[in-house]
Amino acid sequence: MSTQDEQNRLALLQGTLDLLILRILVFGPQHGQGIARAIQSNSDEALLVDHGALYPALQRMEAQAWIKAEWGTSSNNRKARFYTLTAKGRKHLTHETSRWRRMAAAMGRILDLERLESQEG
């Protein structure tokens, strides 16, 4: 991966990391490194997850009881801490997803409005 690649990537918006982690965990239990990989590959390498910020976030979400953790073994036979979505986390995910959708839609409408105006003008 080149420096150029990294610069094209998007840094995560404030507060979106939790939502992404919860979404990834819908597919099943995953460890920290796996979550980071999944976010990056599912966004076609567009989103960059700061590994240093990932673990405190997981820690915080565990304290909120959105996720729970257990030590297990990874596919390549390494010991890793696996995170699972809890019922409370699932509820939070639903709530946050709809909030994000409304937010994105509202943003889109306003940005499109500007484009229309510039076309008219």
Binding site: H31, R37, D50, A53, Q59
Partner: protein, 701 residues
Amino acid sequence: MFKKRRVQSDFSQELQAHLDLEADRLRAEGLGAPDAYRAARRNLGNLAGAGERFYESSRWLWLEHLTLDTRHALRRLRKAPVFAAAAIFTLALGMGATTAIFTLVHAVLFRSLAVSNPSQLLRLGRETHCCVWGGYSQDQEFSIASYELYKHFRDNTKGFAELAAFEAGEVHLGVRRVHSADPAVTIVGEFVSGNYFAMFGVKAYAGRALTSNDDRSGATPAAVMSYRLWRQKYGLDPSVIGDAFALNGQTAVVAGIAPPSFFGDSLRETPPDFFLPLAMEPMIQGDNSILRVPGAHWLDLIGRIQPGASPASIQAQMRVELRQWLRSHWGEMDANGRAVLSQQTLYLSPGGAGITSMREQYEHWLQILMMVSGFVLLIVCANVANLMLVRGMERRQQTSLSMALGAGAARLMRQALTESLVLSILGGAAGLAIAFAGTRIILHFAFSTAPGFATVPISASPSMPVLLFAFAISLITGVAFGMAPAWMATRIDPIEALRGAHRSTRRAGSLPRKTLVVLQAALSLVLLSASGLLTATLHNLEHQNFGFLQDRRTVVGIDPALAGYKQAQLESLYRRIHDALASIPGVSSAAICSYSPQNGDSWNDGIFVDGRPAPGPMTISKPRGIALHRATSKPLATASSEDGPLPNRTRRLRSMWPSSVKALRGSFSRTKTPSVSISGTATSGPPANSKLSAWPRTPAI
């Protein structure tokens, strides 16, 4: 909430696992093993930083710091046992004294009666009028009532759910169990209305409480005994309940036992041990009964208000009732009573603390004691702060090293403060023991003269408020003496760590130490002069001129009523006692009076010169025996000639009749008693019922 907290090693393991997994991935993408690991490491960022962030995200971090600091402080104190012992002992003395005084302040000034919902209670009067008040006018306010006036209030005031009356003074009873050979003992009793226990919401501990049925003329005489008397004299014997007792020779049945916490309607030095219905008063007092005398006011009133009733409207209504009642006695009133009738009024005040005569009596000296012990505590703080500063000096080396290694000033200050708090809490705990002993000693010296089994209902053992107070005072003290040393601890240049062990400058910190010494000396001086003044005052009070000689004189109390003597027998009995006393070898003279000088009691009635208009309200002096003046060697002012000089006239008489010296030979009238003639006047001394009379019994502290 108290789920086991994730430990930091678990978190480090997770980060390590991440590095391994990431390195595996990068190697799979084709990187060499060392490069892959380095890249993984770079992506993760600052490993130590992440670990630190994890550690600090813990909500219980402060608790962990506190535990560490406390353990550190304890270890340091153990290494300096002499310092620790000295500091803890000093602190214990200061805080023990303060806590002891607070125990008394709490018991006397703040505590409510042990009754249900004390906030619903209202009492008649703002100040206490004790114990019998004659006539139809009272100074300032009507705060004490006759039985007839009580019934007038009780039957007409609808705002009270229950209005009870009880004796303002106390009655001494000669008590003997009828079917036992024990001799009679003197017990303090109190006459109460039948609804007294119902009004307070107090249920009997055993047997039954008094009811309105007991408070009827012709009812079987019944009484309620205090739990204390039941335990101390009768060993909780259940056969006492329902048994017959002779009270001043009259038989009554003990209906029940009052609860242990109930000490009556007021905090007093001699709480009653027998509660008797008002209807029994004529039977016990015989010819001296005042139950049916409308103008003899001897009852305090406390009522429980109806839910939703307003105290102000009850007070207004009772004022109207008072006027009505006074007007209905217009015929018996003297001219003075008629003149001041329109000024007669009454006030209601919160009754949850009962009748607060003891509070009024001791409030000021408790405040003084609280202030003095506060001063002592301040001196202790200055003292211990100085010791702590010296200790701080000794560990400059260590502190500067900690700072050079990156310890924060706030953290160092917290550590020093924790040490102070540990010391002060240890001192406070030791102080509790001193407070307990101190309170017992004060109670013993201040209230040791109660008759019979009565003891002041104040417990020396620390209650919850006292424990909280001791804890709070420990924290405050710890911060007070720890603040300066803690601040000084952070005023150290880390560069000192680089210098040699003995090269640190000794000058730093000497100013605060000097300041503390000056403060300590100044406070000690204030305290010394204050206690010197107190001692001098006490000495003056003990040796002041009471108007009579005190040496070689003894007061003997005799109460023939306890043995069942009747009024008619008294004169010959007193003469016999008088003659018997006077004939004892070594007794030079003896006298008999109803109240001995300076015993703090009085009897109020109006007097005026025959044939002259009645003056304003006055206090008559005590009826004294024929030989009292001789016995106390009080010089009598001789009114030998009508125009002759009268050198020693009392201030009171002079203020009553400033211009009528001749009147002193005339005869005087007292309400409803035959005229008496004045044979002379006494020299002036302090008022006989002055509050000063409480002082000689109070210990010098």
